[in-house]
Symmetry: none
Subunit: 414 residues, 2 copies
């Protein structure tokens, strides 16, 4: 089974965006054992899209086209495909209704151009787009399968993994499975974690490879087998060995996030949490409430950006703020206790730091962040020295705070 | 001047890495006015690299090959190129010496394979690699220029910008510059905005093209001219026409964000702001505080996730919460006024909605969000019907809230 991908989008040829969709496709095809021969990127130009389709390798069984399914004049990918294949088009009525309904419910004026998004090649299998408007579609012609897919990554990702790949696997009776599992680690340094699993990293099937992703430490296990059950067995074995080495540092796997795992622990133990944030400006509470059902353990949090509010609302002594400063171990301790007392929550979490680019000094540089946790009256503090820009320092502080909460919950259980 | 790029690397076809080099090349070529026609990505396979070279468009003047210049068996890009062109190879002695010196200084065993990195096509112009070992090189054949470039991004970037692009601009006497500018719009629907500038979109130089990026509406102006001053003039002219059509809906351009623009307006007018967030869980305040210096207008915000806190802290009447519900125009109005009174801020902003996936009903579906603003005692409310998942609904609510704040500030000025 051999495939090619044709990405369309002038913004890709101008370097305005990086082609993350190409990676998404590549990975999905690799995991299903489909050999990807070539990725071609052309602009929003019907003639060049047609050329790219026509010059695909002769032995290729599957051509995936990405982008150019929208309502504007620029969007010409479907038009190019049906023109090369000599196919007609038809309206996909559920999509048309959805588009019109959407416009109506929002009181938008009717624009005829929008209707064209509902057109698909005649006789195509249609993959409904749950997130956006343009559906995916597949047609067979000249002994090949052609698949049209929408360009926006957040629309493509669910469509590809939930609709198109399962359809392809079934259609081609694909058996060789490459399966992978991501193990997620917290509360331990990257190199220490790697040291502990060094011998496992040497394994060839399944493989184990460390990756650092947005401040989290991940390890990817990849297994290959003709039998799905065998691949799963290989993954399970490696996961067990991995967990043996890293114990409770393994907080989750695959799609599980630290905020979900922390949320589930809070839920299971009937604990409530409240945050007092300064430099992260609400981002920690936002992460905690990214989890559905978080209202069970989160009722209130405060962003106390100014010293005055740290004193008046959280009861941080003015003396500490003046002598130790807002960014200090003493202040986050007082903030954590303050928010816990104010709300009656079981756990109070506080963050104060210098996110940058201004506000740093020799003694307290940009990137200095303190996190305090008051767990039922027991206080703990962590000090971070981060090296990113303002947004990255905020994001990293939140990751480290979540990891800290996880550690506290794990040790409270023990 | 027309170009194609051929990227080689099996890791790209397996989705192990994203092709950031393609973006680097695309941007560099665009800025020098070289039209990029196509990007082709193939694996580390001599035959397929040869095919990619052979099937390049006839009218193409420049073909850049990336990757596959290393010492291993997999690295075959130079071999493929000289084979297609029927060229010989020669040793680039400075590179050979550097490689051998490097090995010796580190006490590494001599490996004959490493020497091949110093080979270049016969008669090539060589671009020394200051960071790694494999040099870049350019040859002319069949009336075209072929350029070989190393794969590692940190080697490619300086080689491209400091050596190859200046050489290309000189070699082709390139004068044409392509410059672009992004105009950012808020407080107006995408299709309405497009309607108003439809005739401008028809222009060919400069061009105007709409793009939607993370819930914001952007329009990119691109101008091409032999003279940089002329390109700037074309951009300025189009910007003026664009602003005439969309007025204060144009909130900024290029790197400017809505939170920066709103922040600057608050700063300029000496106004303060405070938020009371429910479904966005702190993300609005986090966005507002992404701006350096935001402590000048933001002192405190609250995440009132539960009804109890909406009542006790913000003073939302229990009656409203029970009869209208937490997600209602009445509640966000009371929340906005409540946070404003509590903090003494000039502007109170409140968000309450159903982010999903649970909590929706026929009457109040997932994606229903109310935003309330109390501007010095004047209340305004917006109702949204979003269609994303939980995280996207949160992010979109924040974008819309920022846009709403911007609108209120604009009309308060008028």
């Amino acid at each position: 089974m051999k495939a090619e991908i044709i990405c369309t989008g002038t913004e890709l040829l101008l370097g305005q965006i990086v082609n993350s969709n190409a990676q998404l496709f590549s990975r999905a095809l690799a995991e299903s054992g489909i050999d990807l021969y070539k990725i071609t990127t052309v602009g929003d130009n019907k003639k060049r899209i047609e050329e790219a389709i026509s010059t695909a390798g002769e032995s290729v069984d599957l051509i995936i086209l990405n982008g150019g399914l929208g309502p504007t004049e620029d969007d010409q990918t479907r038009e190019a495909l049906v023109s090369v294949l000599g196919l007609g088009e038809e309206i996909h009525h559920p999509t048309l209704e959805k588009i019109r309904e959407y416009g109506k419910s929002r009181g938008l004026p009717y624009l005829k151009n929008n209707d064209k998004v509902a057109d698909v090649p005649k006789g195509a299998v249609v993959f409904a787009n749950q997130v956006g408007s343009a559906p995916g579609s597949a047609v067979e012609a000249d002994g090949r399968i052609y698949i049209l897919t929408p360009g926006p990554p957040h629309e493509l990702e669910p469509l590809l993994t939930q609709e198109i790949m399962p359809w392809l696997r079934h259609r081609f009776q694909l058996k060789d499975r490459i399966m992978s599992r991501v193990m997620k680690v917290a509360g331990i340094g990257e190199s220490t974690a790697e040291e502990r699993v060094r011998d496992l990293i040497a394994s060839s099937n399944p493989t184990l490879a460390p990756t650092v992703k947005r401040g989290e430490i991940h390890f990817r296990i990849t297994a290959k087998s003709a039998e799905e059950a065998e691949a799963v067995r290989l993954l399970d074995e490696m996961e067990a060995a991995f967990r043996e080495r890293l114990g409770t540092h393994v907080f989750g796997k695959d799609q599980e996030t630290l905020e979900q795992v922390v949320g589930q622990m809070l839920l299971d133990r009937g604990l409530s949490i409240a945050c007092a944030e300064s430099c992260t400006g609400g981002l920690l509470t936002s992460s905690l409430t990214d989890v559905p059902g978080s209202s069970n353990y989160m009722q209130f949090s405060a962003i106390t950006y100014s010293d005055e509010w740290k004193e008046s609302f959280l009861g941080v002594p003015w003396d500490i703020l003046m002598k130790r400063g807002a960014v200090s171990a003493e202040t986050v301790q007082a903030m954590a206790s303050g928010i816990r007392e104010k709300t009656g929550a079981d756990i109070g979490v506080a963050i104060s730091g210098i996110a940058g680019p201004d506000g740093g000094s020799l003694e307290k540089p940009v990137g200095l962040v303190y996190i305090g946790i008051d767990y039922k009256g027991e206080l703990q503090v962590k000090k971070l020295l981060l090296s990113g820009d303002r947004l990255r320092n905020k994001a990293m502080s939140v990751k480290r705070a979540l990891s800290f909460i996880y550690e506290v919950l794990v040790s409270a259980e023990a």
